[in-house]
Structures are given as structure tokens and as C-alpha cells.
Amino acid sequence: MLPRLEPRSGVSAAMMLLTPAIAVGLTLIAGVIMFAALGFDPGRALYTFFVKPVSTLYGVSELLVKATPLAVIGIGLALGFRANVWNIGAEGQFTLGAICGGGVALAFHGVESWLVLPAMAVAGILGGLAWGAIPAFLRVRFNANEILTSLMLTYVATLLLSYLVHGPWRDPEGLNFPESRMFEDSALLPVILDETRLSIAAPIALLIVLAGWVVLSRAFLGFQIKVVGQSPAAASYAGFSEKRLIWTVLCVSGALAGLAGMFEVSGPIGQLHPVVSPGYGFTAIIVAFLGRLHPVGVLFAALLIALSYLGGELAQIELKLPLALTGVFQGMLLFFLLGTDVLIRYRIRFRRRGARIALPQGG
């Protein structure tokens, strides 16, 4: 008797929406078992991990601060992934956005003008866009795989930032330590909640989510993206230009990642630093898939992943649990999501050895 996977005849639309919730539920159950096995009170541990971080207004504001870059990048990636364009280099586009936005802030050091921030935002968007356009060009012109080119450009971006903060952009009063000056107030995003780091970046991120939703569900571009993603042959038969679409989604996702990078340096960080991202560009890939490549799903996924980071920090402080716990929870979440995904497309059958084996069709 061997278990086998057999494709189901149809995939339930309701189940597609339900599986993330089921995955979260299964993660919680597995969490209870794990905490109990480790000798912790599971109730208290789960409370510390998932509820306590957001039990204060400051905690909620930090959740939004952490979720903002994930959501902004995740929206752009979801557009691309739907069209089968695999931008893995959002981390680099984020970094370029931080460099360009931060560069404008440093260039206008000492200038008090409301124009500084919009100029920084434009520079950040253009920087990320340019970094996304390179893999687009290489793909369209030379058919170079964008997974590799965008990923490799991430390291170029990180080294460029490192060069700048170690060299020309180093704080002149900073004893040669590798960081820029602190930005002036005119180059910092206005905080919308006193005593927190919650800036206007959060509501802007929400607008971007809405815009992403409208584009995907109502705009012609969204329709093209879906058709190309599901059937490239049908798309070319309909006269959609695949090349133009590759350019569009890579530039848009690059621009959004760049904007997120500019938000980060002009928001919670407030200066350029060799490390501007704890891997937001890569985490946003998980966020995009966890959110079912749907803008609203991406928003919830960004909040959930952000919560897992905050919970992991608090679990270290209050329960003296190791950092690995954060990774374990994120891993379980993905595992259960992918597992339930498989099970709504396939059923498990037990058959005797030697019986005719039908190969799963499609995928």
C-alpha cells in the first residue's frame, strides 16, 4: 500500500480562499504542541508571540512600520509573479531606492523646503525602476533569465551602498565610521502618531494596495497580466506584447521596491547605513505567495509576517526563547500553506503495488 497523489477534477474556489486561514490554524495547533513539548505554557507563549506585540498602541504602530515595506514590495512582486516574471531582486531595487532617495536628502543637507521629500520619493522610485529595468532589458534583448540577473544585481546594489557610506557619503563628523549624516527634519517622513515611528508611509502603502487591486481586477493591464500568466500562447494570439509586459511589470515592481527603500531611510532609519534592510526584498517574496498574489492578500500576509518578527523578538525577551522560533513559525506557516494547496489540487490515494499508476496531469 503506497500513498499517491491523484489530481482532483476541479479546484474549489472557496477552498483557495480558505487555505491561508486553515494554514494559520494548523500553525497555531502545531505551535501549541511545540510549546507544550518545550515545557512552556502554550497559552502564555502564543499570547506572547501573537497578541502581546500588538497589545499597545506603540506595538500596533511598530507592526505597521514593519509591514509597510513588505506590503509595498509584495504588491509589485505579485503583479510580476502573476505574469510569470520572476523578480527575485527586490532587495537590490529596495537598496537602490534607499541610495537615490538618501542621496537627494544628503545633497539638500541644510535646505529647509517641503520639496525635499517629494524629490527624494521621485529619486527613490526612479532608482528602483532603473534597477528593475536592467533585468527587463536583459530578458527582452538577450532572453537572459531574470531570476538570475535580478538576484545578482542585489549584490551589486548592496556593494554600491557600502562603497558610498564608506567613502564619498560618509558623515564628515563621524570619525570615519561607515554611515551618512543623520537626515534633517525636512528629509524625514512626517510622523502621523505622536511618540511612534508611524509615518505617512503606512497610509501611502494602503493606497498602493488599493491601486494594485484596481489594476488587477479592473484595468486592461491586469487582464493582460493574468492572460500572459495563465496562457502565453493565448496572450500572443490575442496580440498582447509579452515584451512590453515584461518591461512594465519589472519596472513597476522595481519602482515600488525603490519607494519602499526610500520610505525606510527617510522613516525609521533616518540616515544611510551599510545595512538598510533586514531582507525585506526576499521576505516580500514569501509575502506575495502567502497573499495568493492578490493585493488584499498581500496586505494581510505582510501584517502576519511582520507580527511573526515582532513576536519572535518579544518571545526572546519575555520567554527567553531562541530566535530560531521566528523561523520555525514562518516555516510552519509556509509548510501548511503549501501542504493544503497540494491537497486541494490532489487527493491522497492508497493503492496496491503494481496497480496501474496514473500520472498527475498539469500542475
Binding site: 514593519k66 567613502g167 564619498p168 533586514p278 530566535l323
Partner: protein
């Protein structure tokens, strides 16, 4: 009803007692840039944390948060510690400087200790060890042990602390072996065993037969042993990772400092200060010398150790020339702390250009 009243009184009394105990107890928090299992920098800080627990037992409670990114996360973690009743918080990476200062302003009653920075405040101290004194000792040993006269140096980031180490090492190296030269590889990370190992391989391929590292994993020493060359460990005694190759290591020892600062908080005598200690206070120490090092070389190293401790020897004693051959520190003078803290030039004998220059 009377019983209930008694019960309430008893609970209240318990509460008061518990409150009084909590006031006698000090909560100490640590923010680490790497994992505690790095066997280098963060590991040594965590050994210091455990020393506090061992010394004060029930009177202290310690907490740590590991692998905290130097970006936006640091401020939240530090604030989280400050707002959960920690009285003393150690932040142990340069990148935590601005977040530490920011949070310290909002929590004036909490004491902060930042390792390796230069911004202080009424409740923010800074502390660092004079690691370069250990570089002098390893330079003397490397100069005597090398056959190829090429030394490989794996460096993290071109900040003054690292440049200072390369220079102190090179000066001592060429004091005993004027023909020796230093090749530097910048890996742009404090901890990445894969990258560090690759850098060691590249340097050995270029003829290096002693590998120095200013990164935190034991990978370079392990590669050195595999390839049959010498290595000097970093931050902790890495002998067990490469017993044959490991000449010595520069050990960071934060135990005494951490215990003293915790005691100051317990006694109510804590004051903001700036501390930069070396071999003389034991904040750094040399790991046991490899038995394969000839006796006269060990004697030379021990003598230099004693002379640095007594102040007879300064790692940056003039004349010191830069790469262009120009005298930067004149004869009869030694570098002062200001010059050491902002060092951004190589001494003669280091190959290549300093990044960002």
C-alpha cells in the same frame, strides 16, 4: 467576609513584598548583532552575560535578543527592552549607536552601554577593547612563523577599528621580518562562514601561509588547517576548531566589565563613562600559544605582552610610515587615541588600497 478580608490583606502584603524584591533586582538586557553561537564576537558578549548571572545569582535577571539587524529593527528591540523593566542595556554593535541614543533619551532612568561607538549621554556609556594590542603580539609571531613572507588578512568593514588592527599587525610583523607583506581581503560582513572560508582559500592560493581574520567565525582557521598553513583566531580561543594551525587568538573578555557595571547599577553608583581598555585590565587576552611555536618566539610574544601592559611598548610607536613612505607618526612619538579612533590609512607593508579612499 472576615476571611475574604484577610485573604485580600495577605495578597496585598505579598504584592508589597514582591514589589520590594523587584526593586532589589536588576534586569540586564543585551542586544546582539549576530547569533550567540558564532564562536566569536557575539559568543564572547554572551559569555559576559552569563558571568553576570553567575556573579549575582538571584539579584539579576538577564535577557538577550540575537541577530538584530542594524537597520530599523534595532530601535524597536532596544525600546522593547527598556519598556519591559530592564535597568541596564548593553548594545554590542557599532550600528546600534544612533538607535541606542534615541531610545536613551526617551528612557532617562534606564542605563545604556554601547560597545564601540562615540556618542554618549547622561545615561549612555561607551566601551571598547584595545584589540590592536593583541594584533601587535600576533604580528610578532606571524613574522617569525611565515616562510613565504605573505600574510593573508580577512577584514570585515573598512572602519577605523579594523584598519587599526591591520596596521598594528603589519608594524609588528615587519619589525621582526621586514620582507613580509600583508594582503587584505574585504568580505563586508562580520559573520559569514562561507565567505570567510572562501577569502581564506583565495589568500592561501596567493601564497599566504599565515591567515589573520577580523571576522567572527572559525571558518578561516579551519580552512588554514585543511591547507596546512597557520592561523590566528578572533574574539575567542578557536584552538578546538584547528588545533594544528591555531597559533593563538585575541580573546575578548567582557566578563569583568559587565560584572562591574551591573554591580554599579545594584549599588546605585552607575555613571556615564567612556572606557577603552586593553591587555592591562584583561579586557583582551591572548589564547594559549600553539606548542609548535619555537620557545624564543613565545618568549618574544610574552615580553611584548608584558611591555604593552606596563606601557613600555606602544603598538604605534614612531617612526610609522604610510603606504606612500611618508612619516605619519614621527620618531619618539606614539599615536594618540584621537588618531587611533579615526585611522583611515594603511601603514607601509600593506598591499592594495583601502576601500573608499
Amino acid at each position: 467576609m472576615k476571611r475574604v478580608g484577610l485573604l485580600i490583606a495577605a495578597v496585598a502584603a505579598l504584592g508589597i513584598v514582591a514589589g520590594a524584591q523587584a526593586a532589589d533586582k536588576v534586569k540586564v538586557g543585551f542586544v546582539y548583532v549576530g547569533p550567540i553561537g558564532d564562536h566569536g564576537w557575539t559568543y564572547r558578549h554572551d559569555v559576559g552575560r552569563l558571568a553576570i548571572e553567575k556573579q549575582f545569582g538571584d539579584k539579576v535577571e538577564t535577557t538577550y535578543v540575537e541577530s538584530v539587524s542594524e537597520g530599523a529593527d534595532a530601535e524597536r528591540v532596544i525600546r522593547q527592552l527598556a519598556s519591559t523593566g530592564h535597568d541596564l542595556i548593553f548594545t554590542t554593535s557599532f550600528g546600534f549607536m544612533n538607535p541606542t541614543v534615541k531610545v536613551a533619551k526617551k528612557f532617562p532612568k534606564v542605563k545604556f552601554e554601547h560597545c564601540s561607538g562615540y556618542k554618549r549621554g547622561p545615561n549612555v556609556s561607551t566601551y571598547l577593547a584595545r584589540f590592536y594590542e593583541g594584533r601587535t603580539i600576533s604580528g610578532l609571531i606571524a613574522g617569525k612563523m611565515t616562510k613565504s613572507n605573505v600574510i593573508g588578512y580577512i577584514a570585515s568593514f573598512p572602519i577605523p577599528e579594523v584598519v587599526r588592527g591591520i596596521n598594528a599587525f603589519t608594524l609588528a610583523l615587519r619589525e621582526v621580518n621586514p620582507k613580509a607583506e600583508v594582503k587584505v581581503v574585504w568580505v563586508n560582513t562580520w559573520y559569514d562562514p562561507g565567505k570567510e572560508g572562501d577569502a581564506a582559500k583565495a589568500l592561501i592560493d596567493q601564497g599566504a601561509d599565515v591567515i589573520l581574520q577580523h571576522t567572527d567565525s572559525p571558518a578561516p582557521a579551519q580552512i588554514a588547517q585543511k591547507r596546512g598553513v597557520w592561523a590566528v583566531g578572533q574574539a575567542s580561543d578557536m584552538t578546538k576548531f584547528a588545533p594544528k594551525s591555531h597559533l593563538t587568538a585575541i580573546i575578548d573578555d567582557w566578563n569583568n566589565y559587565y560584572v562591574a557595571r551591573t554591580k554599579a547599577v545594584l549599588d546605585g553608583t552607575w555613571k556615564s563613562q567612556d572606557v577603552w581598555q586593553g591587555l592591562n585590565t584583561g579586557m583582551i587576552a591572548m589564547a594559549p600559544y600553539n606548542p609548535a611555536i619555537p620557545k624564543d618566539v613565545v618568549a618574544l610574544a610574552m615580553q611584548a605582552e608584558a611591555d604593552i601592559k606596563s606601557g613600555k611598548r606602544h603598538p604605534f610607536q614612531g617612526p610609522v610610515r604610510n603606504q606612500a613612505g611618508k612619516v605619519v607618526i614621527p620618531k619618539g612619538k606614539a599615536a594618540d587615541d584621537k588618531m587611533l579612533l579615526s585611522m583611515d590609512w594603511y601603514v607601509e607593508g600593506v598591499q592594495g588600497k583601502l576601500p573608499g579612499k
